[in-house]
């Protein structure tokens, strides 16, 4: 009633913020993140494998529709996934800022005073030593050299030490969490600036220049990339070969490429690179990978008027274990001035290619992926292919609707070994000249990736420090041993021979696990120091060990 509306809003906001930045919320959000990522691992994803998603659609049409509509096939770009990690990172930053401030404050603060009752501490030890309180203090000081120590003398002459160690733990923890934020930012930045393209290159010295997106077969890029500022370089593929084991398993892919970038683009110098799987070419800020390969059957068509055309069009492997491939090599009829007639006299050679032929009757299949006994089984189609301006057409097949409508007709079906020829009714001959290989190159540009790596390394280092270092405290209370003669404590310690009683308490601030060993060792040393009163000599950290 007496709180005003703005105040209540403020209070609400403050509570929300506190709730959001609490450990409990972080825990719940972490869980949610793990849970939300799960469908991304279990269900096929559009971005990874369209085919699997389509298969899923075929098998479970209704489910697929529901799942797709909530983004289950696109988890990692879905709104709800983003919402979870954004909330988590907001929570993280809200948690980190005050923690960093608190850490800086602690770095300047003295260790807390020695508590009155050390027996209550999780770790506790007590004993007497033959050293005088002065000597014992000296010894303790040296033994605790690597600790942050605050000394105190209480009114009755009792000396206390409070020591603390392991400040790096919190530093590691902060580095770790900040590095996570850095990771998120750099990965996000990379998403905006990246590009990736695919291009097929024939292994006959053909090349590719990264001068524009039109040179690619497919291209995918972040929002800030418009394709005008690609890293300038050129590559050409001189040779490509694959070594297979007897089983047909590939043993090695190897592309012999040459490239030029930077100044070399102007002076025409080419450098060579041995492009293999696991050994990409890195140049001009881009990476070039070998991601696929296949065969290109070469056909020469001799038209009735004697003109010849030779074409090398890549065919697509349909079975990667035998490299049986399919494709369509398409020809325009040369020397026909009439546009209409030319378009109705196009040729397509479609069918299968086997690197190592195996015939079952006339049906061709492949026995082995290497080029041992190449053969094609082709249909020759004549008619209208719709080449000009028909952008949607696949280079691996002909438009089935043109066959269905009768605009494209089969004029021959034949199996050809290298050098063999088909003769069509109109006198056209088609020769299977031979085979060459092609390779698929992927060009990747990820300008932020090195920063991602830097943060990833910081994550590991921070985590390691945070998990291996313990923040721990130790307290000592050193009292002169009462010798019963009524001397003041001052005198007793000045006399030097009276010995001292030492009480030690220990506390690990973060997790108790593992402090016990160090504490035991430390107290053994401290309390054992009476056994061998060499504490005055320098250099020995451990004048005597108990037991």
């Amino acid at each position: 009633m007496n709180t005003s509306a703005p105040r209540r809003v403020l209070a609400f906001l403050r509570n929300t913020w506190r709730g959001l930045t609490s450990m409990r919320t972080a825990l719940v959000l972490l869980f949610l993140l793990a849970l939300a990522a799960l469908p991304g691992a279990l269900l096929p994803q559009w971005s990874l494998n369209r085919q699997n998603v389509e298969t899923f659609y075929d098998n479970h049409p209704t489910w697929a529709k529901v799942l797709d509509s909530i983004g289950a096939f696109n988890v990692f770009s879905s709104v709800w996934f983003a919402a979870i990690y954004v909330l988590l990172f907001v929570s993280l930053i809200g948690c980190l800022v005050p923690r960093s401030a608190e850490y800086l404050r602690q770095l300047r603060a003295r260790p807390v005073r020695t508590p009155r009752n050390l027996e209550r501490m999780p770790h506790h030890a007590a004993g007497t030593v033959s050293l005088s309180p002065d000597e014992m203090s000296d010894f303790a000081r040296r033994r605790l050299r690597r600790w942050r120590v605050a000394e105190n003398t209480e009114q009755d002459g009792t000396r206390t030490f409070s020591a603390e160690r392991g400040y790096l733990r919190e530093a590691g923890n902060l580095v770790f969490h900040f590095a996570l934020v850095g990771l998120l930012i750099t990965v996000g930045g990379d998403q905006l600036m990246r590009y990736e393209g695919q291009v097929v290159v024939q292994a006959d010295g053909s090349g590719f220049c990264n001068s524009g997106t039109y040179n690619y077969d497919s291209f995918d890029a972040g929002l800030t990339v418009d394709g005008t500022n690609l890293s300038p370089f050129c590559v050409r593929l001189n040779d490509f070969d694959v070594r297979y084991l007897h089983s047909g398993q590939p043993e090695r892919f190897h592309a012999d490429i040459e490239y030029q970038s930077g100044e070399a683009l102007d002076n025409g110098n080419w450098k060579s690179h041995d492009l293999r799987v696991n050994n990409p070419l890195r140049t001009a800020g881009d990476r070039i990978y070998l991601t696929g390969n296949g065969y290109t059957p070469i056909f020469t068509v001799t038209f009735p008027d004697g003109t010849q055309r030779t074409k090398k069009t890549q065919w697509q492997p349909v079975d990667t274990t035998t490299m049986l491939s399919q494709g369509a090599t398409k020809f325009d009829r040369p020397g026909m001035s009439n546009e209409q007639r030319r378009h109705n006299n196009q040729l397509a050679i479609t069918g299968l290619f086997a690197p190592t032929a195996s015939l079952d009757g006339k049906v061709l299949s492949s026995r082995f992926p290497a080029l041992r006994d190449p053969m094609v089984a082709v249909d020759v189609l004549k008619g209208k292919l719709g080449l000009a301006g028909d952008t949607g057409q696949s280079i691996f097949s002909v438009d089935q609707s043109l066959i269905d409508s009768g605009e494209l007709n089969r004029v021959a079906r034949e199996n050809l070994a290298v050098g063999e020829t088909i003769r069509l009714d109109d006198g056209t001959t088609i020769r299977f000249d031979g085979v060459q290989r092609w390779a698929n190159l992927q060009i990747s540009h990820n300008p932020f990736q090195r920063y991602v790596l830097v943060f990833a390394i910081a994550v590991v280092i921070g985590l390691g420090a945070s998990l291996s270092i313990k923040r721990r405290r130790i307290w000592l209370r050193i009292k002169p041993l009462a010798d019963g003669s009524g001397h003041t404590d001052e005198n007793a310690s000045a006399a030097g021979g009276g010995g001292a009683s030492v009480e030690i308490g220990g506390l690990a601030r973060t997790d108790q696990a593992g402090y016990g060993e160090e504490f035991t060792k430390l107290t053994d040393e401290l309390l054992g120091s009476g056994a061998e009163p060499t504490a005055g000599s320098s250099g020995t950290d451990s004048p005597g060990r108990s037991s």
């Binding site: 450990m23 799987v277 998990l467």
Partner: protein
């Protein structure tokens, strides 16, 4: 290129090690079953070894007549303890034979011995068993052990049980004949990334077992009137919790490193450092679950039981990642092969 003789030898050693592990497991369980239940008294107060074996098989008094054919001059230790001693010795033997099998496999194929599911299933178990021996060794040293040696030793069976199961699975359903790696796997990264993943999985398996036992023990501690038969023989819940925590904490940076090394390898092999491949995704999920475990340990109300459940869930994700993702889901990692 594959040396068949060596590969056969490796297979034989593998089978032998499984048999040895089973024997060791039975011995551990024999010790465990004949050990005395300590109820719920704080362990640390219990004098070391003094009470072990009271509930075991009765041992003969040294003076009750000579035992024919026996050359043991010393008074005999209680049965349970002897089982335990044998169990450890047999485990060590198993580890040696197992390691031999892995090394010889590597020599036979001339590459790292973790190129397919069978091989890394085997390697993971080796790590888990070695982790167990290391814990046992460290705990039996010095005065600072948080629990008595025999009592801890009795846990060996619970480590060997899942390890033997996984080994059996690897050696049968997942078995792959020795062969060359495919090109994508031929990289020095296989040494770095896969070995880090194997070590992490092995140690996390140990941590998961500790968390399961923690829950069992906690149940018996909370019901003193009706203690479970297993629960009452286990070390205190504190000790078990600490094992789980320390193992996880030790290995978390390694697991993080394994994922990052995997990303670096993917950058060289697949053209991107991260692509949400199912295996990558699932590894990240497991990592997040373990991060949640560490958070839970620092959040009041989440420490004991809930944290233990999170740790077990983490192990479940790891195992799921190992089997289901590799076998059922098609992704870039599927070539790991069966």
């Amino acid at each position: 290129m594959v040396n068949q003789t060596l590969s056969d030898l490796s297979d034989m050693a593998f089978a032998t090690s499984v048999v040895i592990y089973i024997l060791a497991m039975l011995l551990y369980f024999a010790e465990f079953a004949s050990g005395k239940a300590t109820g719920n008294a704080a362990e640390n107060a219990e004098p070391a070894r003094a009470t072990v074996g009271a509930g075991g098989v009765a041992t003969k008094e040294p003076g009750s007549g000579p035992v024919v054919g026996r050359l043991e001059p010393e008074p005999r230790k209680p049965w349970s303890e002897r089982f335990g001693g044998m169990a450890v010795a047999v485990t060590v033997l198993g580890v040696l034979v197992h390691a031999f099998s892995l090394v010889i496999r590597g020599v036979a194929v001339g590459r790292v011995p973790w190129g397919n599911m069978y091989e890394f299933g085997s390697a993971i178990c080796l790590v888990a068993v070695v982790a167990w021996l290391v814990v046992l060794y460290r705990q039996s040293r010095a005065v600072r052990k948080p629990t008595t040696a025999p009592k801890l030793r009795g846990l060996g069976g619970f480590v060997l049980l899942p390890a033997t199961l996984l080994l059996f699975l690897s050696g049968t359903a997942l078995y792959a004949t020795a062969s060359q790696l495919q090109p994508a796997l031929r990289s020095y990264w296989i040494w770095i990334h896969v070995s880090a993943a194997i070590v992490s999985t092995g140690v996390l398996m140990f941590a998961g077992v500790a968390s399961v036992l923690f829950l069992v023990r906690l149940r018996s501690e909370n019901n003193p009137t009706d203690p479970g038969r297993i629960g009452e023989r286990l070390p205190s819940s504190q000790v078990l919790d600490r094992f789980a925590y320390r193992a996880t904490v030790l290995i978390m940076p390694v697991w993080t490193f394994a994922i990052i090394a995997g990303a670096m390898w993917a950058e060289a092999a697949w053209g991107r450092f991260w692509g949400w491949d199912p295996k990558e995704t699932c590894s990240l999920i497991a990592w997040i679950v373990y991060a949640a475990y560490l958070h839970a340990r620092a959040t009041s109300g989440w420490r004991g039981t809930r944290a233990a459940w999170i740790n077990i869930f983490g192990l479940a994700v790891m195992i799921f990642n190992l089997f289901f993702i590799n076998i059922v889901i098609s992704g870039l990692h599927s070539y790991a092969g069966l």
